[in-house]
Structure formats: C-alpha cells, structure tokens
Amino acid sequence: MALAPAPLALLRAGNLSRFHWLDFLGKASPWTSQHSLRMYGSVPAAGIVQQEDNSDLSDKILTEPLKHSDFFNVKELFSLKTLFDARVHLGHKKGCRHRFMEPYIFGTRLEQDIIDLDQTVRHLQLALNFTAHLAYRKGIILFVSRNRQFTHLIEKMAVDCGEYAHTRYFKGGLLTNAPVQFGPQVRLPDLIIFFHTLNNVFEPHVAVRDAAKMNIPTVGIVDTNCNPCLITYPIPGNDDSPDSIKLFCHLFGTTIKRAKAKRKQMEFLYSQQNKQRAKTGDTYQQQPGPPQLET
C-alpha cells in the first residue's frame, strides 16, 4: 500500500476540492483506506479483504498508466509529415509576431513566420499524452475556441467523443464564479483545450487567465500572434487553416476515445483477474504484473 498512495498524493497536491471526484471514483467507499492500513497486525476478516481488493483494483487501474512514458501510444497518431501536409507550420506575418513565440519559430520566408515543427511534434506528443491520461481518469475536458469558422466542427467533435465544448460568447464569471452561476455543487472542467487562444478582437481569451486562476491545466494551439505564457501545454501551430484545425480535431478526438476505451479495457481486465483470485481463494497471493497493453 506504500506505493499506491504516493503518486496519488502528488496529484492531490493541487486543489483538494477539485480532485475529490477522483477519490469518489477511485475507491469503493471512503473508509477503505482506513481498513487497508494494517496497523494492528491481526488477520483481517474476509469482508475487509473484499474492500481491499476493490481499492487495490482502482489503485492499480489509476497507477498503471503512470509507469509508462507513452501508455496510450499517441506518437503513432501523427508524424512531422502529417503536420506539414496540414500546413501546421504556417504562421502569421512578421509584424503580427508575439515576442514569446520567438523560441518556437523556425524562421521567416517572404515575411511569413514558419513554426518549428520539431518542437511542435514534441509539444503535441506531451499535450496528447496529458489529454489521454485525463480522459482515462474520467476528467471533464472543455474545448474552447472563438473562431466562428470552426464552431460547428469543434462542437461536433466534442459530442462525438463525449466531452464538452464552449465556442460561444464566454460569460465573465463562468469559471471563477461558477457556484453562483450554475449551482453550489458544480464540477469545473479538469482540462481546457484551446483551439484558438485569441478571441474575435485578437485579444487573449479570458478562459486562459481564468483557468490559470482556478488551477485548471490548459492545452492550447498557439499561433505566432498568441501569448503562450499561461498555457500549461502550448502547441505551437497554425490555427487559421481549416486543414490544420481538422487535423487537430481528429487528433484530440482519437486520443480521448482511445483513452476511454483503454479505461474500459483495464477495468474489465482487472475485474476478471479479481474474479479469478476470488475463485482460487488465495488472499495473500501477490498480484501478477498486468501484461503490457498495446492498442
């Protein structure tokens, strides 16, 4: 039991109230942690072993992906060539360049900035991996964009993968004043993905700042005229071409669906293992390591 609480405790270092949902999902009942601490050295009764198994199960499900660097294999979803074909490397003109985007820019050609796709690949892999982990842990993902050309596409994609979208006028206190606007027990998004970091008047979207205020991690596609500062996982890339936005939609949609499918698979697998263990009746048997799951 020493191993299991440690990574979870790292995650709980943040806002307690937000991750209380993880507790709800991770354990069978609030009291299992107490029972699982074998402080008294006595043989635990059979009922408590059942609860132990459940908490073991949920802990295993949650900690298993964290042991691998690319558990969901997001690297195979795209390559540098696909990004190039979707025109992700095209930035704005030199005059629109944001100072903080200079590290991500490969160079300029006829006054148009070209984004460094090597860095984009790395950032995109990190971002997709993070999204996948969050979707695996049943977090709420909110897609935000204020570009009216792609509103319909993004909303369709959100419905498709079972997450949430906000491509409309952003009311001021949505994240910061949510209990008043929605209700006392509302759950805020656990991840916000920006397809467009700027709003219709080319100013940074309010949600970037509000998410930073509410300790919500953000993933965002930052173009050469955007400010990547407050975004946790920026992805330098083109946010104006339809092709590039379609590619990003496809990538995010696939990762989320993949992660949710993986979760179901893991739950099924571990519940099967538990049933087998219950049949053999061997309560002290060490859990065999789960097989490496390939997609």
Binding site: T151, A158, R168, Q181, G183, P189
Partner: protein, 395 residues
C-alpha cells in the same frame, strides 16, 4: 440537511406555509399550536404529540440551499400532502375520496381562523406543485459530469438549437450544390409562410426555459431566415413550422349571430352596444316600416334633438334599408348623446346578421362596428380639470 427537529415535523403542519412577501417556499413559521395526529407508520399506529415552539427548531429554507427542491423532496411533499388531505377530510367528517381543493380551503379557514388582512399571509394548504417554484432539474449526474455537452456555455438549449440549425444549413448547402450540378434545383415556394410570424423573444424563452437577450433572438431568427433561402426538404419545413405562429386575421374575428325567429315567424336579430357609460340592447325585426321604440317610448319623443336621431338612422342609411326594419331598444346610463351612440353600435351589430359578408366588412371599415373607447378623463390633483390648469399668475 439533517435537522434535529425533523422527527417532530408533522406531515400536517409541514405544508402549511405562511407565504410572506419574500416568496413562496421561503418561510416556515413554527406553530405554537399543540396538535395530535395519528400516523400509520409501516402498519403500526403511532400517536404523536406535535408542537413546534422554540425558534431554534425553525429551519430557514432560504439558507438551506438548492438541496431542498430535489425531485425526491417534492415527491415526499406530495405524498405528505395526500395523506394530510385524507386526514383533513376525516376530521371534517367528509369523504376523503371526493375532497377537492375548495373543500380543503374551506376546512383550513374553519380550523385556522386568521385575522390577518393580507390574504397571502393566511395559512394555506395546497399541492406542492403550486407552492414550490418549478426548477430546472439537476443538470449533472452523480459523478458531477453535466448531461449536456454545451452546459458550460450557460445557455445549453439555445446554443444547441443554433448548432442544430447551422448543421441543417451546412447539409442543405451540400445538397443544393449536388442538385445544381445536375441542374435539378427545385423552385422556392413561400406560400406556407404567409399568415404566420416568427416566435417572439418571450415565446422562445418559454420554449427553451432559458433567459435570452434580444441579440440572441435576432441571431436565431436570422439563422432561420438563412435556412429558408436554401431548397428545404419536408423535414426542414416541419422543423421551421415549430418556430412560426399563425397571425389571427383581424376582420374575420367578428362572430355573426344567426337569425332568430319569434312566435309569429318574424325573423329578428339582437345586438348590444355601449358608449361612455351608456349600455344599449336592441332587437331589429326583418320586416317593418321603420318604427323605432326606445325604452317603450317612440324615438321622436325620446330623442328630441335631431342629431341623436341621425345617429340612430346612420346604420340603416348606410345599408340603404331605411324604412325596412322595425326596432325595439332598451338603453340605460350615460347622457343623451352617449345613449344615441350606444344604440347606433347595437343596431349595427344586429344588422350584421341580415347582411352579406362584404357589407359587414364595409360596416367595419366605416367604423360602425367599433366601440368608441373614449371615456371621461379623470381630474388630476393640482389641476382644475383633466387638462385645464389653474390660472397662472406671473407673480
């Protein structure tokens, strides 16, 4: 949500609310009356002495938050109301099966006589649906995930509607491109839209159960208009009709009474009219010689002034039926001119039954069928009359 006094709460006194000005379900005042109540709990009879006296036991509903009005709570309240209704019927010695809301109100006024002047402050016992305001059902499940994918926008129904309509527009665009390439573009027909109007903002708000702004409504109507410019299939037409309301045609609202026949077989028609404070009822006979009787008196004697008699004449003169009908009228109230005007309106209403639809329309356009809305304007304080001010003195 656990309250220490919950076991003491009577099913009976629970839903007797004193409705203060702050709203319906906001205040539950502790009753100082001691009442006994027999309550069947799981088959056993439990006699309970119920008296809620101390203010510490009072539960402030306003601060207890939104958990109060959950579906389970409302269901419980409805059950308690029904049980209480039966108890009340037994107490009053009436049949519980046929105990209506009026009987309940009478029983409550009898059992709890109140000297309060404000009617809304007196004790009431009504169905919980009438007392608790309708709330939107909780929008997220047990794990906290909202049900609607646009929940975080604040107006999920409105934006999902816009999303749907835009989706239809995009599909129709593609369809029309295919059809135009083949040259099979159908003709636009706009006949279905005549005689109907778009929903107004209030109606849309009611439909979506959400507050909207004027710009939202305007945007929505613009989107629908854009949908109309494309070649719509039958599904789209049906969809659009959901957002249109029929306009009632003005001139067709007049109900024309059919002719009635008296003992001699003479056809007659009656009409009513009013003007200022005068009210008139008129019976016009089909065949006659132009004899008019007002309140039993001949019209020449009742209305000595020519102008009033001209008013009586006008409907007949307009229809060229001057000497052809007999008339009996009763009139009360008002002055001589007002009574004349009232009889004129009543006559015109009565004559509609004898006359074709076109002539009814002519009557309406001549203003013979419109009640004159002018009444005496009230006198205002600080002025001598309705409009006349006191004499202005410079110094």
């Amino acid at each position: 949500m656990a309250a220490p006094w919950a076991p003491f709460a009577a099913t009976f006194t629970n839903f007797l609310f004193i409705r203060g000005r702050s709203g319906l379900a906001r205040s539950r005042v502790a009753w100082k009356a001691a009442a006994t109540e027999r309550r069947t709990v799981a088959g056993t009879q439990v006699l309970r002495l119920i008296h809620t006296t101390s203010p510490t036991q009072k539960k402030n509903v306003a601060t207890s938050g939104r958990e109060e009005c959950t579906v389970a709570f409302i269901k419980k309240q409805i059950e308690e109301f029904n049980i209480g209704k039966r108890h009340l019927a037994n107490m009053m010695g009436e049949d519980p099966e046929t105990f209506t809301q009026e009987d309940i109100d009478r029983a409550i006024t009898y059992l709890f006589p109140s000297g309060l002047f404000e009617k809304r402050a007196r004790p009431i016992m009504k169905h919980p649906d009438d007392i608790f305001p309708k709330r939107r059902a909780l929008q997220w499940g047990e794990d906290g995930r909202p049900f609607h994918f646009l929940f975080y926008t604040g107006k999920p129904s409105y934006y999902s509607l816009m999303h749907e309509v835009y989706g239809m527009i995009v599909d129709l665009d593609k369809c029309s491109d295919h059809l135009r390439a083949k040259g099979l573009l159908p003709q636009k027909k706009n006949q279905d839209l005549i005689g109907s109007r778009w929903l107004i903002k209030e109606e849309l708000e009611e439909m979506l159960v959400e507050k909207l702004s004027d710009q939202d409504h305007m945007r929505f109507i613009q989107l629908l208009e854009r949908l109309l410019t494309l070649p719509c299939g039958s599904t789209e037409e049906e969809y659009i009709h959901k957002f249109r309301r029929a306009i009632p045609v003005q001139s067709k609202t007049k109900l024309i009474e059919p002719l009635q026949y008296d003992e001699q077989g003479m056809a007659y028609s009656s009409g009513e009219g009013k003007r200022k404070t005068a009210k008139a009822k008129v019976i016009v006979y089909e065949h006659g010689s132009g004899r008019i009787k007002v309140n039993g008196i001949d019209y020449l004697l009742y209305f000595p002034v020519t102008q009033d008699r001209e008013q009586l004449m006008f409907p007949f003169h307009f229809l060229d039926r001057l000497g052809k009908h007999d008339m009996d009228c009763t009139v009360s109230g008002g002055g001589r001119s007002a009574q004349a005007g009232a009889i004129r309106l009543a006559t015109a209403n009565a004559l509609c039954s004898f006359v074709s639809e076109d002539e009814v329309e002519w009557l309406r356009q001549a203003g013979l069928l419109t009640t004159d809305p002018r009444v005496k304007e009230r006198k205002k304080p600080g002025q001598e009359g309705a409009r006349r001010k006191f004499t202005w003195k410079k110094r």
